[in-house]
Every structure is written in C-alpha cells, then in structure tokens.
C-alpha cells in the first residue's frame, strides 16, 4: 500500500498482473498436458480387461509317476489347465497381434522350481532381459528351455540345477514363446515365457482376469494363448503329446480412455 502517494487507491491487481497470471495458468495447464501419461496416477488412454473362463467342469488331468516321491509325491498331474473359482483360468497369455508402438518394460522374471513344478507357470519378459531360474527342491532339476518354430522345437538353453538354492540365468534375445521343461524324470514340469518387445501383454491371474493398460485409441486384435491340455498321443518313453496351443483372437476397439472388455472361453 502506497501511503505516500495521495492519489486515489490503485486496484489490487493491475491489468498486467492479470495478464501475467492468465499466461502463467495457461502455460501450466499446457505443461500438464505435455507430461507423459504414465506419470499420471490414474491410467490415461484405454485399456482392455477381461477374463478367461473354462466352460463347464474342469477336466480331470492325467497324472504321471514321479521319480522323486519324497519331494513331490508318488504322482503328479500334468497341470496345464489351472482353474480357480468360477472357472477362471490362470496363466493364460493375452497379447496384441498388431500392437501400437511402445517399449516393453517388464520386470526380469524369476521362475522357481518348487514341489517339482514351475512357478509362475507363465511369465512375460522383455526381449534382451535375463530370466533367472531358482531350484527350491532338494532334487535334481534341469532348466531346459525350447523355442518353437511351428511344431519343431529347438533347445534355447539347458542348465542343470542339482542343488537346492542353485540358480541360473539366461538372456532372452529372441522374441517368441519359450517353453521350459525338466528332463530329470519330471515329465509334467513345464512353464512358458513370452519374450516380447512391446509392453501390451498380460497374464491372467488366479481369477482368470487380466488387464492391458495405456493403449492409445484404436482397433486391436487381441490374442488369447493357452498352452493346451488335451493329450493326443504318447511319445516313445511315455511322455504325452499335447494338442497344440489353444489360440483365439478378438477384434477390440479401444476408446481414448476407459476400458473395453474382451472375455475368452475355453472348453
């Protein structure tokens, strides 16, 4: 307040002050818009959510004899179809056949051998990152990973982990599906790793639900990939041969925000 000056009182905010404030507000809101979406707490862009369910009662799965009964029981089932309550199918992979640009940033997975099984049964890894395998069983397991080209499979890596607590790691350089098994008499042990360059993929949880977020608006082909559980043949030596993966596709249009659902059913 200017008491020296006996002129009439000036307004609290001059015109230039007001102009300056408006400019600042505008600039700030512009800056707001320029900030990358994933720094925003609420997901911007659209998302695809859904559930994979098994219709009907879950089928009885074949069992195999276990050569290490003291660790994992006398028999072990070929646990390729894991269903939860309401028939939700866990460990199903959902990805986009025509994804938008984006860099995958999945945390490097750790796959554990425990109770003569692999946990998690399905994982997603960024191409170029390393997957770590840990053996938590007091029995010999090897980590035998295969790439599939059509029906032909090739060894991608094969490490022995005879001691509890041992771990191995492998850099995954090729995109695609890697199947990991064990040869030490545990013919049911199997897990899968989806190696990808782009971030738009997800694995269903125990309820069979998944969510792929942060998608720009557009129409996408959503692919559901499940390893299959039907036994079609037996290899010499007794290993069952499973029918190929169960794959389904859906065309989904995603708006600029909000989620669209894409549900799949297995039978």
């Amino acid at each position: 307040m200017n008491t020296k000056n006996n002129r009439s009182r000036e307004p609290l905010f001059s015109k230039s002050d007001l102009a300056f404030a408006i400019i600042v507000c505008f600039a700030t809101s512009l800056g707001f818009l320029a900030v990358p979406k994933n720094h925003i707490a609420a997901p911007a862009g659209g998302s695809i959510t859904g559930t994979v369910r098994f219709a009907g009662a879950a089928p009885k799965l074949e069992k195999a004899k276990c050569i290490s009964p003291e660790v994992c029981g006398k028999t072990h089932s070929y646990d390729r179809l894991i269903t939860g309550k309401d028939g939700g199918v866990e460990y199903t992979l959902i990805y986009l056949a025509n994804p938008p640009a984006g860099k995958a940033n999945f945390p490097a997975p750790t796959v554990t051998q425990v109770n003569c099984g692999y946990t998690p049964h399905m994982a997603i890894a960024t191409r170029g990152s390393s997957v770590t395998f840990v053996n938590q069983d007091p029995v010999l397991h090897n980590v035998h990973g295969y790439y599939y080209i059509g029906n032909d499979r090739s060894t991608a890596f094969n490490f022995a982990q005879p001691t509890k607590g041992q771990s191995s790691s492998q850099q995954l350089r090729k995109p695609g599906m890697v199947n990991v098994e064990c040869d030490a008499g545990h013919t049911w042990m199997s897990s899968w790793i989806w190696v990808t360059d782009n971030p738009y993929a997800a694995v269903t949880n125990a309820n069979g639900s998944y969510s792929i977020d942060g998608l720009p608006p557009g129409t996408y082909t959503v692919v559901m990939w499940h390893e299959g559980w039907k036994i079609v043949d037996t290899q010499p030596g007794g290993r069952p041969v499973f029918s190929g993966a169960v794959v389904e596709q859906k065309q989904i249009t995603v708006p600029s925000s909000g989620s669209t659902s894409a549900d799949f059913e297995l039978k």
Partner: protein, 304 residues
C-alpha cells in the same frame, strides 16, 4: 605260384612301409594341434588356437560366404555328405534308414559338438572339427584327408541349411572358458566321484555310470526321437572325444538338442575338471566305485 608269393610279399612289405611312415596329421595341419577347440592353459606347451580363443565372442558374419566358396562347398557336400545327410540336408539320405544313430538334420541348426554356451550355435571351427575328427562309433567318418579349404567350404555350405546362422539374435556366440586344467589324480577322481553323486548325475546315468538311472527311460531329443543317457563306462559311446578335456567341454556347453544340460552356471571350473576326470576314469580304470585311481595316472600326461 611265384607271382602269387611275390605279390603277397609286396603287399605285406607295402603295408609295413605305410605303418612306418605313419605320421600324426597334426604336424601337417596346424589347425588341428588341439584335439578340441578349447585348449587348456598349460604352462608347458601353451597351445592356443587363433580361431576361437576361450572367452571369445563370435559376432554375426558381416557378409555371407562368397559364391565360389559356397559352390565348392556344395560340390563336396554332394560327393561326401549327401549319402547320409541327404542332398537337402534333412538327415534322411539314402543310407540313413539303416543307421541307429541318425545323421543330423542340418536344417534345424541344432548341434551337440560345440564350444559355445548352452543353446547357442556352433562356431565355424566346431563344425570344422566335427568334419575332421568324425564322431566315434557313428557313421560320421573322419574326413581328415579332405583338403582344409574344402572342409571350410563345406562348413560354409552347411550353415546355409539353417536360417539360424543368419539370425542376428543368435549372436554373439559365447565361447566358453576352460580355465586351468586339473590333471587326473587320486584326489581329483575322489572329488569327482563326490561331485557325480552330489550333482545327481545318477538320475540319468546311473550310480555306476552305465546309463540306467531312474529317469533314463523318459528322455526324448529335440527331433522327437527317444534318446538314452550315455553309458559312461563304454568307450564306444563317447562320440565327441574321450580326453578329459573333451568331457569337460561337454559339461560346460551341454549337448544342444538333448536332455544333457550345461553345468557351467552351477559348477565351478575346477569342479567341472574334477568331474571330467572322474568320468574319464570310468573308461580308463576299473576303480570307479571309490574313485581311487591307479598311481600311474597321477603325474603322466597320459589322459588324452
């Protein structure tokens, strides 16, 4: 009658001459001074191969092999290799049906006899070595006497059968380290025997190493064929060489395409040497139960 006697004498004389003239080929072909690519760091001789030193990283070839080399490789392949491997490299050549150990399907790019990490392609030299030394007790002969240039040309031609060799995600290839060789000694063999049991090799190979472990009947290879764990006590069953160095190499690289894993991440180099010495002793001594070897093994170089 005397012509016959003369011919007999000449035949025996000539074979005697050839026997006397017997000369290790390695002296004439310096690439093959090592019995396998990975030469142990022996302070005495210090042989090293310039092609793939231990620890090397082999990068993708910058350009494909020249047309002349591929044409030569193809010509020699059709002459020497097609009867088993087929003109198309698929492993079902004219004689393959009569072989129990099938010729390799070269279109898959899966090779057992390597010096690279588990799951990786072989180096050019790995393929060259296999062609040169053959695989013991299989129908793959030792083409030692094919000119080295021809052998290299065949290697380049073989690589064209599988798209994996052109796939940049396969490279770099990690050539494994050998470390310092541990000579077989009673202590090494005893340690090796303990490691054999701790590593549960017996699961597939059996307690006596005879290939009769509990998991032996469940194994299949990448080609869908049934496969049996090697009988470690049978010298004829060792296709890729019987020295402790060759055995060490197999532990470290694993055998691609088979259930035999790599122990590179779970056993130290020294432990792998002890284990290799023990497995070597299964064929070279009879004392495999307690791992104690004959005293004569301790200091001699007689372990190749």
């Amino acid at each position: 009658m005397y012509i016959q006697t003369l011919t007999v004498a000449a035949a025996i004389g000539l074979s005697g001459l050839a026997w006397i003239a017997h000369d290790p080929l390695s002296a004439h072909d310096p690439i093959l001074n090592a019995s396998s690519i990975m030469v142990a760091d022996r302070s005495a001789t210090g042989n090293g191969s310039s092609y793939t030193d231990p620890g090397a990283k082999i990068i993708a070839p910058e350009q494909p092999a020249s047309r002349e080399i591929l044409a030569r490789g193809r010509k020699m392949f059709l002459v020497s290799c097609a009867p088993c491997h087929g003109a198309d490299g698929s492993g079902s050549g004219p004689i393959a049906v009569n072989l129990l150990s099938k010729p390799r399907d070269l279109t898959r790019g899966i090779y057992m006899n390597r010096s690279t990490a588990s799951g990786q392609l072989p180096t050019d030299y790995d393929l060259y070595r296999t062609i040169t030394t053959g695989l013991h007790n299989t129908a793959m002969p030792a083409f030692r006497q094919m000119a080295p240039g021809d052998r290299w040309a065949v290697v380049q031609y073989i690589k064209t059968f599988s798209a994996r060799f052109n796939d940049t995600t396969e490279y770099p290839l990690d050539v494994l380290n050998v470390g310092t060789e541990v000579l077989p000694s009673p202590q090494s063999l005893a340690t090796g025997r303990n490691l054999y049991l701790q590593s549960q090799c017996a699961t597939c190979h059996g307690l006596r190493g005879q290939g009769d472990g509990p998991a032996a009947g469940t194994l299949t290879d990448d080609f869908g064929n049934r496969i049996w764990p090697t009988d470690l006590t049978n010298a004829s069953a060792f296709k890729f060489g019987r020295s402790n160095l060759d055995i060490f190499r197999i532990f470290s690289t694993g055998l691609n395409g088979t259930p035999m894993p790599s122990f590179e991440q779970t056993l130290s180099e020294t432990d792998r040497w002890h284990l290799a010495n023990y497995v070597w002793s299964l064929q070279n001594t009879d004392q495999y139960v307690d791992g104690v070897a004959a005293d004569s093994l301790a200091e001699s170089g007689d372990h190749r």
